[in-house]
Amino acid sequence: MKCSKTSRLMTDMLAGELSAIQAKQLEEHLAACENCRKEFDELREIWNFTGDALRRNHQDLKLSDAHRREIFEAAADLPKLKLSPKMPSRFRWLELVASLIIGFGVLSIFLLPALNSAREKGRKISATSNLKELGIGAANGALPALGAPPESETDSSAAPAAAPESESSDLTEVNAGKDADKGGAAGKLAAEKRKDVADVYLRRAAAGPTGGPALQTLEEKPAVRDEKSFAALAPTPPLPQPPVKAAKVAFMKYKANQSSTPAAAPAASSYAYGVATIDKMDKAEVKQEGLKFSEEQASNVLIWKGVPEAKSLAASDALDRPAESSKKKEEFAASETFKVNLKLWNLTTVEDVRDFLKSRNCPAPAKILIDTDAGAIRFDAPYNVMTRIKGIIETLNSEERRLKDFKDGLPFTKTESKPFSTFSIDTDTASYLTAKKNIKRGIRPDPSKIRAEDFINYFDYHYRSPENSVFAVNMESAPAPFRPQNTLLRIGVQGKRLGPNINSASVYTVLLDTSGSMAYGERMELAVNALKLLSTKMTPYDRLSLVTCGGSANVLINNQMKTKNTLDMAVKAIEAGGVSDFYNGLRKAYQLAAVNYRAGAWNRVVIITDGIVKLEPEARAGIIGSIEKNRINGISNIVIGLGGDGDDKLLEEIAATGDGSYVFVDSENDVKELFAANFEARFREIARDVKIQVEFNPGNVAEYRQIGYENRQLSKADFRNDRVDAGEVGSGQSVTALYELRLKPGVKPDATIATTRIRYKNAEDMRVEEKSFVIDAGNIGRNFETASPGFKLASFAAEFAEGLEYPETQNIATPSGIAVKLRQLYISNYSKDEKVRELLDLVSRAR
C-alpha cells in the first residue's frame, strides 16, 4: 500500500468505518511505515481531543414536562388521525346523516302502524311491510346495489362485528352520490342521468293506479338536514312541478296518499329511503332501458321494488320485470359473513364459490364477497338460501377442525369437498440434512423443522428421463406399507438434463455471513471452502462478486474474473465477528447483482449463512420483497445453510422467493457434493414456477392426504395463474410427491384414480407449458412387496419424516418398524447407495 493512499483510510479507521480487509491492510502498512504511523498518532490525538471537547459539556438534557406531555397527548390523539385518510371530512357529516336516516327508518317502522291505525287496514299493512322491507333493503342491499369500493367490502366481510358501522358507511356512499349533484362535472353528469331516469319514472308514475296529482317540488337538500321544511311539506296540497324532481315526488305523492296525518318523522325517513332507493334505481333503470338484466342489477331491482309505486307500476309497465322478483323480495333479507379457510377449499374466486355451491345443489346468491387472506366470505341471499349456505359452511368448518386434529392419525381430505390438490414443487433437502445432523448428535429434531418433502426428495429414485419434453411424470401406486388398507400414490417428476446452454456464462454474487456465530465449529471453514469450490466451477466468462456482512456490509470483490489472487486476498480478509448485518448484506448483494446483471447469463446470488440473523418483521418483509423484485428481473439465488441452528424458515423463504434452492451443508462431503454432483441441478434450472395439480376422481377416491409440502400448497386457481410463484427444477433434478388414498370399495380397474397436471415455465424461453398424466385403478399394485424399490424407499423416507414431525400421532410406524423393512430394501436393492445406508443408520438411531 502506498503512503498516499493511507491518509483517508486513517480517518475512516478512527471513525470505525473500515472493512476488515482494509483495516488489516492499514495496520500492516502502519507497522511497516514510520511516517504514516506518526501521522496516524497525531490524527488520533486530534480526533480524541476534538471528541472530548465536543462531548465535554454534555449534560443530561431532558425535554420539559410540558413538551413531554404534549407528545403523549398527540400520540393519544392518533387513532383519530388514522381514520381521517380513509374518510375525508366531507363524509363525516354524511355519515351522521346516514345514521340519522337509519334511526328514522327504525322509528318509522314502529310509528307508522300507530299513526295509521285510523286508516284503512289493508293499506296500512302493506305500507308498513313495504317500509320494513325497504329498511332492510337499504341496510343490507346498499352494498350490493351500489358496489361500494372494494376496501369497504372486504372490511365489512372481514369483520362481521363491525357491521353496523359498515352499513352506515354504505349509506353514506348512497348519499355521497346525491351530494355529487352539487358540484363537479361528474356530479353534473350524474344529475343529467338522474333527470332522464326520473322522466321515465314520472311517466310510469302517471300511468300507475296510485298515480294522482303530483306534490310540491323539493329542494335538493340532504333529507334529514331539512327535516323542518320537510315536515311542513308532507301534508301540503299538491302543486305542479318540473319533471326533474319527479322521482322523489312520486314517492312523496305515495306518502301523501297513504297517510293524510302529518307525520314528520316517518315522512322524513321514508323520503330519505326514497332518495336512497331512487339513487340506486337510476342504475337499474338505465340498464333496463337497454332491456338487459344482469344478476347484480336484479338485486338492485329488488331493492327499489320496495317502493310501493314501483310495485304497482310493475304490473302496468310495458317493461315488465320478472314476476318472481316480487316473490323474492319477501325472502331477500339476509346478509351474513362466514369465517372459512377459503384457500384450503380452493374458493379463491367468486366463480369457484358459485360452482362449489352449485355442486352442492345450492343456488348461488348474486352477491358474494370474498377475502381470501382473512378467510372471510359474505353472502347476500334470501333466507332459505342462506340457511343452506350456513349448513355447507358449517360442514367445511368442521372439516377444517378435523384436518387440524393430528391425534388419531393424520387427517385425510374428503375428495368430494376438495377434489384438487395443488402445490408448488420443492427440491430442497435442507430439512433432512439438519435432522440428520441432530439425530447423529443424539438430539431429537424439532418437529416444526421437519418437512417430509425434503426427506423424500433427498433420495435418488432413478426415474426415466424425458425424451422430448422438459419433464417426465411417473406415477406409481400400491398399498401403503404400514397401513395396507390405504393406497399410496407416488408422483415422480423427472427433469431433463440440460444440453449446451448449461455452459452459459454465470454472474455470481456471493453473500458471505461473517457474523460472530459463523466462528463456531467449522462453519467458516465450510463457507470458505464452498467459495473456493464455486470458483473452481467458474469459466473465464464468469464473474464473481463477494459481499460479507459481519457488523456491516462490505464488498470485497466486485464483478471480477476468476484469478487466484483476488479470491485468496478476499479469503484472508474474511474473519467472523460482530453481529450479522444480514439485512444490509443481502440488500448490498442484490444491488451488486442488479448492477452486474448480464442478460443471457445465469445471474445468481449465492447466500452462505448459518441463518443466525436478527430481523425485525418489517426488515424481513423488505428483504423478501426485494428478492421477489429481483427474481422478476431474472436474478435467482441459492441459499447454502450451515450449522443448522439458525432461522431455517427465513432461509427457506428466501430460497423459495428468489427462485432458488436451499441447501444445507454440514461437512466437507456435503460441500463437495453440492459443487460436484449437484452443481448442475442447483445452479442450472430447466424450469421455473413448476406447479403440480392432482385431481382425484371423487367416484373412486373417498379421501386423500398429501405427505409433506405443507408450506407449498396453492389454491386451485393459482395453478393456471402464471403470476403465482412456485418452485424451480434444476437440470436433471427429480421431484417426488406422495399421497395416501382411501379408495371407495369396488373400484373397477379401468376407473381413473387421479389426473396429474404439471405446469411450468420453460427456463429457456419462459414459455408456459402444461402436461397432464392419468393413472387408473388397474395400475395400482397388488401389494406393497411387489412395488418398485424407489416406491418403497420414498414411502419409508416419508413415514420416517412424519414420525418425527408428528410424534404424538397414532398410526404412524415406529422407527424400528421402518428399520426392519428398510434394511431388507437396502440389502436387496440399495446396498451400494450411501444415502440409503445413512437413512437406515438414522432410522435405527431414532428408535
Binding site: T11, E70, K82
Partner: protein, 169 residues
C-alpha cells in the same frame, strides 16, 4: 412493550442527544425543546400511519435537523452549527498545568472548529459527539456515504494542521 412504553424508551434514549444537537444548531434551549418535541410527534404520526422508519435514531436526527434549518431560515439566520467555547475544562484533569494547557488547546480547537465549513462542522459533531456512522450521517444530511467520509477526512486534517501549527504538539 406497549406503544406508550416504546415511545417513552425512545424518548429517554434520544432526547438528550437530540436536544444537544438542536441546541447547537439553534443556539436556544427552548426552541430546541420545541424542535425535538415536534420530531417525536412526527415520529409517532409516521409510525402510526404505517410509515417505515428503519433507523429511528437517524430519522429523529434528520427530522430535528430539518426542523432546525426551517426555523433558522424562517428567522433569516444563517443555518449552521457552532461550537461554544467550552467553559471550565480543568475539572477533568488531575494536574492543573495540563488543565491549563488543555484549556488553551481547547480554545484553539473551538476556534478551529468554528473556522471549518458549516457542513464539515456538522459532520464532526454528528460523528464525534453523537457517534453516528457514516451511513447515518449520510441519511441525516442527505449526502452520500463517500462524501461524508471525505468531508470528515478533510475536516480532521484541517484541525490537525491548524493546531499543530499553533501549538506544535
Amino acid at each position: 412493550m406497549s406503544p406508550e412504553e416504546a415511545l417513552k424508551n425512545l424518548m429517554e434514549e434520544n432526547e438528550s442527544a437530540l436536544l444537544g444537537f438542536a441546541g447547537r444548531m439553534l443556539r436556544d434551549a427552548s426552541t430546541a425543546q420545541d424542535a425535538v418535541q415536534m420530531a417525536f410527534i412526527k415520529y409517532n404520526r409516521q409510525t402510526y400511519t404505517g410509515g417505515e422508519i428503519r433507523n429511528p435514531r437517524a430519522w429523529l436526527f434528520k427530522t430535528v435537523r430539518n426542523d432546525c434549518l426551517n426555523l433558522l431560515r424562517a428567522k433569516k439566520i444563517k443555518a449552521e452549527i457552532t461550537i461554544d467555547d467550552g467553559g471550565n475544562f480543568t475539572a477533568h484533569h488531575d494536574r492543573p498545568d495540563q488543565g491549563i494547557m488543555n484549556h488553551e488547546k481547547n480554545q484553539l480547537l473551538t476556534a478551529a472548529i468554528n473556522g471549518l465549513k458549516p457542513r464539515a462542522r456538522e459532520i464532526l459533531v454528528l460523528k464525534l459527539e453523537h457517534g453516528k456512522s457514516y451511513r447515518e450521517i449520510a441519511e441525516i444530511m442527505d449526502l452520500s456515504v463517500g462524501n461524508v467520509g471525505f468531508i470528515l477526512h478533510s475536516a480532521v486534517n484541517e484541525l490537525k494542521n491548524h493546531i499543530t501549527k499553533e501549538l506544535s504538539i
